[in-house]
């Protein structure tokens, strides 16, 4: 944590969105041009923990999987320091302690590549279209359904993708108050009664501000001040003033 507190308590934040611990690890392997099967564990563990710390500082809810991976990395690191244990099964001992992780990363990378290939296909209703009519039939009336956190995060990703990329922001700790943003947001939604998710971010120039707004929104949903609905998967997300139980 201390190494993040640089001059005058400012942070340098550069945070791509990762799909999980393997995605983060693979990113680090590629960035450093390591061989998946010969990863310098001590160094990658340090960089991995750096990222986790940034996520903690941002108060992001770090999925348990990230912490399990941190423990795995620490375990591998310690095993690499130990001399081989003669008492244990000989065959097991010959395995590089990093092998399990390397195979996992290699397998994940294969499917990540496969996903990228799929994305390059001419996708129906994105790149190629059918004769009219059918599309009209499929546009159903907006049926409001509750949505999961995942869909909300997916919506956040969309907003983040639209935001200027890879900018580095200098933010002092004093400005990092979700509380203030919560008050602003709840007032906005209470006044208007209904808002579209994307409209929350119209005035946010930086990724940091977007994340802050998003976290504030999550708090409001948790506190049951705001309710969110979506007509269909990936459709417009609408925010409503939550009706109080006794109203």
């Amino acid at each position: 944590m201390d190494e993040f507190l640089t001059d005058e308590s400012t942070y340098r934040v550069r945070l791509p969105i990762f799909e999980g611990p393997l995605d983060l690890l693979l990113y680090l392997v590629k960035k450093n041009e390591y061989d998946i099967f010969d990863i310098p564990i001590a160094e990658i563990t340090r960089q991995y923990m750096d990222h986790i710390e940034i996520m903690k500082v941002l108060n992001l809810d770090i999925a348990g999987e990230y912490l399990v991976m941190a423990a795995t990395l620490a375990h591998i690191k310690s095993r690499m320091l130990l001399p081989p244990d003669r008492a244990e099964d000989q065959e097991q001992e010959e395995l590089d302690p990093r092998m399990e992780l390397a195979l996992k990363l290699a397998e994940y990378e294969r499917f990540k590549d496969a996903a990228r290939q799929l994305d390059e296909f001419d996708i129906l209703l994105r790149d190629v279209f059918l004769r009219g009519g059918r599309m009209v039939l499929e546009t159903e009336d907006e049926k409001l359904t509750d949505l999961t956190l995942f869909e909300l995060v997916a919506a956040l990703q969309k907003v983040l993708l639209a935001a200027p990329k890879e900018t580095i922001h200098q933010i002092s700790i004093g400005e990092l108050t979700i509380q203030e943003r919560m008050v602003e947001l709840s007032q906005m939604i209470l006044e208007r009664g209904e808002m579209v998710f994307e409209d929350l971010f119209l005035e946010e120039p930086s990724r940091m501000a977007i994340v802050l707004t998003f976290l504030a929104l999550l708090e409001l949903i948790k506190d049951r001040v705001v309710r969110i609905y979506q007509a269909q998967p990936f459709g417009t997300i609408r925010l409503f003033r939550a009706v109080t139980e006794d109203a």
Binding site: E19, E65, R110, A114, L118, F121, F129
Partner: protein, 198 residues
């Protein structure tokens, strides 16, 4: 068999049928409608029809998808179509594409396998893919807990313009460093580790 339908006319008939069909038109359906022509003639006419569209600089082409044939607009004109259609195209997130890729190549597959490969909880993504009808439940795996088995749908093939599952691009295999047996062994190792974790 008498040559009842001329080739030119057959191409025209097939073109009209594909145009009017709601779903990708199959060769069997053409055969049912024009019973006097042989499957070979149908395939020849289809191939000629595709060539006609491929060689023209028009806005549409014939694609062989999900076991049938269909007209689609060329991808180079997608921007114009998006301007016309008011609805925004439905995008698939990276998580959804990753999960879909795993299901497509590994089907039938259970959720825990998907999560083992991705290293994260994938329940939400699987739900979205089910809702968008890109995947379906194939059954239950005969192991303790009877987890659901997932596979891709016909809509998946149509969405990605695939003739069948065999036309999925082959994915890069693991390094030649390991024999398949080693990898299998490692996999069982992971599975037992996963079990110990929970």
């Amino acid at each position: 068999m008498p040559d009842a339908v001329e080739k030119e006319k057959l191409i025209g008939i097939i073109e009209a049928l594909i145009f009017a069909s709601e779903k990708p038109l199959t060769e069997d359906e053409i055969k049912r409608i024009v019973p006097d022509v042989s499957p070979r003639e149908i395939r020849g006419a289809l191939s000629d029809l595709r060539k006609i569209y491929d060689e023209s600089s028009g806005g549409i082409f014939v694609v062989e998808v999900a076991g049938g044939y269909q007209f689609r607009t060329r991808s180079e004109f997608s921007e114009y179509i998006k301007l016309m259609l008011e609805e925004k195209p439905k995008r698939l997130s990276r998580a959804a594409l990753e999960t879909l890729a795993i299901i497509a190549y590994r089907q039938p597959v259970v959720r825990s396998d998907i999560e083992r490969i991705r290293g994260v909880d994938s329940g939400g993504v699987v739900k979205i893919l089910l809702e968008r009808n890109l995947i379906r439940i194939l059954g239950k795996k005969d192991v303790p807990g009877k987890p659901l088995l997932y596979g891709t749908t016909k809509d998946f093939l149509e969405t990605f313009g695939l003739k069948d599952l065999k036309s999925l691009p082959t994915i890069r295999e693991m390094g030649a460093l390991f024999s398949e047996g080693d990898i299998e062994e490692q996999k069982t190792l992971f599975t037992t580790n996963d079990k110990n974790k929970t």
